[in-house]
């Protein structure tokens, strides 16, 4: 379990603020997601919680150990997978795993059950140098190495960035299994679609937490109705919808525009008429339920 209280961190002697007054907690066996764009401060938070960096202010506990006083104990019971692949590229898959097992005073055999599902997929390449693995395989090896000492808390910093869609799906399935083993997992990702797979998420932006809730709760908190507007000439459509007086927000999502209105409960028919007049004969509007991404953009706007 993790508790973070009023953590603040600045770089360059206070000129750059990475984290301002961050507080949250994750329970034992919880899969907690940190969702936010690049530069939001996610990695800084990870480095503080894994005792690699000291905060300017605030307190944090991992497994009831203080990150400043009890850093030795924390290092014994957490697994950390940094955003950048940071295993020994010139050692083979097996040598890497073996090395990290031994420095924690354990063996691959002892904790094989925990990593079996993941490691089996890369075991055929166990004599290959880690640097020669594909992106997905590197992630699996990194996760295996982070798990080999059976940690009770796992820190995963953007584990799926740069990984193909299939591997990403597999990866999240593995996290679910680990959670069932009672491991607390703190995971960060810039992908909004992965947020739904977490038990709870914190939306983070420019070093501040905008909202913490279950994914369903965050979606529920979205105010008003959301409409998807589609037409053939998307660019012109965007301009026209944005110029429409009753439009509160309008963002492009793939081939559709997600729109909210200023007056609550407005019907979309007025906008439909407006767009017909603006020479969009094929325009279609439908009411949709908001995604995490919609909520995130909404929170950023305010």
């Amino acid at each position: 379990m993790i508790t973070v209280t009023n953590i603040k961190k600045t770089y360059n002697k206070g000129q750059v603020t990475a984290l301002k007054d961050i507080s949250f907690s994750a329970d034992k066996g919880e899969l907690f997601g940190l969702i936010g764009p690049d530069g939001a401060g996610k990695t800084t938070l990870f480095r503080i919680l894994t005792t690699l960096l000291l905060p300017d202010q605030g307190e944090a506990n991992v497994n009831n150990y203080d990150i400043q006083k009890d850093y030795q104990q924390i290092r014994n019971c957490v697994g950390y997978m940094p955003g950048r692949f940071s295993l020994y590229q010139d050692l083979t898959v097996e040598e890497n795993l073996n090395f990290f097992a031994t420095v924690f005073g354990t063996t691959i055999k002892e904790n094989y059950d925990l990593i079996k599902d993941i490691y089996q997929q890369i075991e055929p390449f166990k004599d290959r140098r880690a640097g020669k693995l594909s992106g997905g395989m590197k992630q699996k090896l990194a996760l295996s190495c982070a798990l080999i000492h059976k940690p009770s808390v796992l820190f995963l910093d953007e584990p799926t960035t740069g990984v193909d869609v299939v591997s990403r799906k597999e990866f999240w399935a593995m996290l679910k299994k680990l959670k069932q083993e009672g491991i607390t997992i703190l995971v960060s990702t810039p992908y909004m679609d992965e947020a739904n797979l977490c038990d709870r998420i914190a939306l983070i932006q420019k070093g501040e937490i905008l909202s913490i809730d279950k994914p369903a709760g965050i979606v529920k908190a979205f105010p008003g109705d959301l409409y998807a507007v589609r037409a053939s000439s998307t660019h012109r459509l965007l301009q026209n919808v944005r110029n429409y007086p009753n439009t509160a927000t309008c963002f492009a999502f793939g081939d559709a525009l997600h729109v909210t209105f200023k007056t609550p409960g407005s019907e979309p028919t007025a906008l439909l008429d407006h767009l017909h007049k603006k020479d969009h004969p094929d325009v279609a509007i439908e009411k949709i339920s908001p995604t995490i991404e919609d909520c995130f953009i909404h929170l950023l706007k305010n």
């Binding site: 950390y80 010139d90 050692l91």
Partner: protein, 375 residues
């Protein structure tokens, strides 16, 4: 703790051995350098070209020229009657020296008991000019003595003999002034220096660049165990290179240590302790291998030029000598020469051993403190 260190060492050696390019460079490069460098760093100058302006054409002038050319140091490249012709040979670099023998050289020498010779030296190459001039002067002095002796024995001289002081010198510890005996141990030190400081720095900075040091830092490995694990492999490599160097020095230059090998190796370990500490310190101050490269280049250049390998430290100004005494290579070169040439034992080199250890202690503590602060 010992177990963790063992696994760290296993990993380090595996990585070093796997990097074939580095192994080749670390072993072959010092061997080649040790074979080649002593050839260049030889101060006994030979084949100095000399142009003689003989305005006398007498027996005495012929005898002087014969004496100069038969010395082995000089090569007669010009024999003219005009000073200007000889000087233009110096200008065209056909001659390093011009010696002018004036007209009536023999006659005046006999009649007036004194004569003047004129030497012009091309001083662009300092060493050659200095040594060439000195050689020539000593040959002429010799020639002068011979003439005096000739006159005395022929009985033509009148009056009492002028008292003469003759100086006989013998070169202790290096009786034949074998220059290799002096330079090979020093070059060996410079090679170990380059390897020790640079490779440790690069290796640690590489872990920084690859982010692997972060992964290590979240494990329970203690910092001093990690650092020890980094230093031991390079200590071993340093000993291997030193041993190879001793073998090369023996095979190619016949340099064999007069003193005990154990004293040499003990001093080597002391020296490597200091130099690996320097490498460690440089690593804590650099974020990239490029920075580590520039930093270590700076130090190694200064060490090689100032530590007394090629020039005498005694001839530097006092403040410079004070700085040089903080350089570990200065002490190790002294130790090497004392042990290899003189056969000094532990008690003789104790001050230098102690100085190196003190410097090493400062560097290592500084490095560990700084490493804690940054990482």
């Amino acid at each position: 703790m010992i177990r963790t260190l063992y696994f760290l060492l296993e990993k380090e050696f595996r990585q070093i051995m796997r990097n074939k390019g580095i192994v080749r460079m670390l072993i072959i490069a010092p061997v080649i350098q040790l074979i080649l460098l002593p050839l260049a760093a030889d101060y006994s100058v030979k084949n100095i070209s000399i142009a003689v302006v003989d305005n006398d054409h007498s027996t005495a002038s012929q005898r002087l020229i014969g004496k100069i050319t038969s010395s082995g140091y000089f090569k007669l490249t010009g024999y003219t009657g005009s000073y200007n012709a000889a000087l233009s040979m110096v200008e065209q670099e056909k001659a390093d020296l011009a010696l002018q023998i004036p007209a009536h050289f023999e006659r005046d020498l006999v009649r007036e008991n004194s004569q003047k010779l004129y030497i012009a030296i091309n001083a662009i190459e300092g060493t050659k000019a200095n040594l060439g001039g000195a050689y020539l002067t000593s040959i002429i002095t010799d020639f002068n003595d011979e003439i005096r002796v000739d006159w005395h024995t022929s009985g033509s001289s009148t009056g009492p003999d002028a008292p003469q002081i003759s100086i006989a010198s013998s070169n202790w510890y290096n009786p034949f002034m074998n220059f290799h005996l002096y330079i090979v141990p020093a070059i060996l030190v410079t090679l170990v220096t380059a390897m020790a400081a640079m490779q440790t720095a690069f290796n640690i900075v590489q872990e920084k660049e690859n982010g692997t040091i972060e992964q290590i830092n979240v494990t329970p490995i203690k910092k001093y165990v990690f650092i020890t694990g980094k230093m031991i492999p390079f200590l071993v490599l340093g000993i291997i290179i030193f041993t190879l160097g001793l073998i090369v020095g023996w095979i190619f230059y016949g340099v064999v240590s007069t003193g005990s090998l154990w004293v040499l190796y003990l001093s080597l370990v002391d020296y490597l302790f200091a130099m690996l500490g320097l490498g460690l310190l440089l690593a804590t101050y650099s974020g990239t291998q490029q920075q580590a490269m520039s930093l270590s280049f700076f130090f190694i250049n200064i060490f090689n030029m100032m530590s007394g390998a090629f020039t005498a430290v005694d001839s530097m100004p006092g403040w410079a000598q004070a700085i040089v005494s903080t350089f570990p290579p200065y002490h190790f070169i002294r130790i090497m020469r004392m042990v290899v040439l003189k056969g000094s034992g532990i008690t003789d080199i104790l001050p230098d051993l102690g100085a190196m250890f003190a410097i090493g202690l400062v560097l290592n503590v500084w490095a560990i403190v700084n490493y804690r602060k940054t990482a």
